[in-house]
Symmetry: C2
Subunit: 222 residues, 2 copies
């Protein structure tokens, strides 16, 4: 067990150093990077499609899609107007900084303003690996149930923004929004939260506006 | 990378040996063990509650609940009539054979006919670790989307039964059942599949009947 922990710590240390390098590359090119995490089917790709529809061509957006298999997500992002790169993790349950480095190598960063990184669908492992993006956002989904903050605390603790998707399904599933938000507040007080439906378009303006503000903050610093 | 792969192979080899031991203990006590896997919020706990309502007291059912944090699920299983044990994985994204061994130690196996193991909510990592149960079942969920077999092939390939939950949400979300089932058929031809709604109760009789048959097959062998 001790040996295993030592190996894990070594891997995480190397990951953090590489994440810093990735951040420097994004900063150097003036690209705002966002790490998007969620469980399978919460709506990462749909949120990216909606975001692209709102931001392109005003901003130049790149998408790096992490998946265990297939290029379904990158194809959808490309169709929606992004420069998209697919990373197949070969069975790994999360993106890490090395994989993101590979994605950055495949993009012309000077030709981008924003980079959306779609992590592997998983509420656990991606939380342990920084990629070097400026911010991270979690997409929760109404049909997943209202107990998820309590059950996946590390993920909820570590993100800079929360998107609650599929809000249009509230009438059809048992979901206590107050209980859910109480759990979020305990773990990540004051977390910026958006209630949206990527299907109907409800609530997406606020999310897009937040993203625009992040990009222009970076530009002011740069 | 080579070192990392060697460590992973060593871990998996040790896991398999321990899984065989777990299986021998279940066989010795005449307990049918089922490993239930799904992404977060697909309905593992709800399916267990419905199953308990149908099987108890006709059969004596134990539940081992794996979670990163909290005992919400074990509490729900105990309230529904099971002897329930919670295993907090301490951040790990899956159950392994060692953790199941700990769960078996905490149960009186001679007093059980069935053991339902609720794995951690995750479509990737649990597929790599056998626990020693007799069968494994995957719960898919309509709002997760119809592309999940294509995106998580290892999980869909490895299971003995598939429960498609939240079938009552079909009118409210885009989900092409034929496309989904085609993906399943490619990966796991002839897979036993149940379309159910744990909320309305629809389709659950067939699932419970399948489970009953598995238990009585084991009894005939034993």
């Amino acid at each position: 067990m001790k040996q295993r922990i030592a190996v894990v710590e070594k891997i995480l240390g190397a990951n953090d150093r590489l994440a810093e390098e990735n951040r420097r590359r994004l900063d150097g090119a003036g690209v705002f990077g966002l790490n998007l995490m969620a469980s399978p089917g919460a709506g990462k790709t749909s949120l990216i499609e909606r975001t692209l529809a709102a931001l392109v061509p005003e901003l130049r957006v790149g998408v790096i899609d992490g998946d265990v298999a297939t290029s379904i997500d990158a194809d959808r992002a490309a169709a929606a107007g992004a420069t998209a790169v697919q990373i197949n993790t070969g069975g790994e349950c999360h993106l890490d900084a090395t994989m993101l480095q590979g994605g950055l190598d495949a993009l012309d960063l000077e030709a981008l303003d924003v980079l959306l990184v779609e992590n592997v669908g998983n509420l656990i492992c991606p939380a342990a690996f920084s990629l070097g993006t400026h911010q991270s956002a979690l997409i929760a989904s109404i049909p997943e149930g209202d107990d998820k903050p309590y059950k996946y605390p590390t993920m909820y603790r570590g993100v800079n923004a929360l998107v609650i998707n599929k809000i249009d399904l509230l009438p059809y599933v048992p979901f206590d929004l107050a209980y859910f938000r109480r759990g979020v507040e305990l773990l990540n007080p004051g977390l910026v939260t958006f209630e949206v439906s990527c299907r109907t378009g409800q609530g997406l303006e606020a999310w897009v506006e937040w993203l625009r503000m992040q990009v222009s903050s970076l530009e002011r610093v740069g």
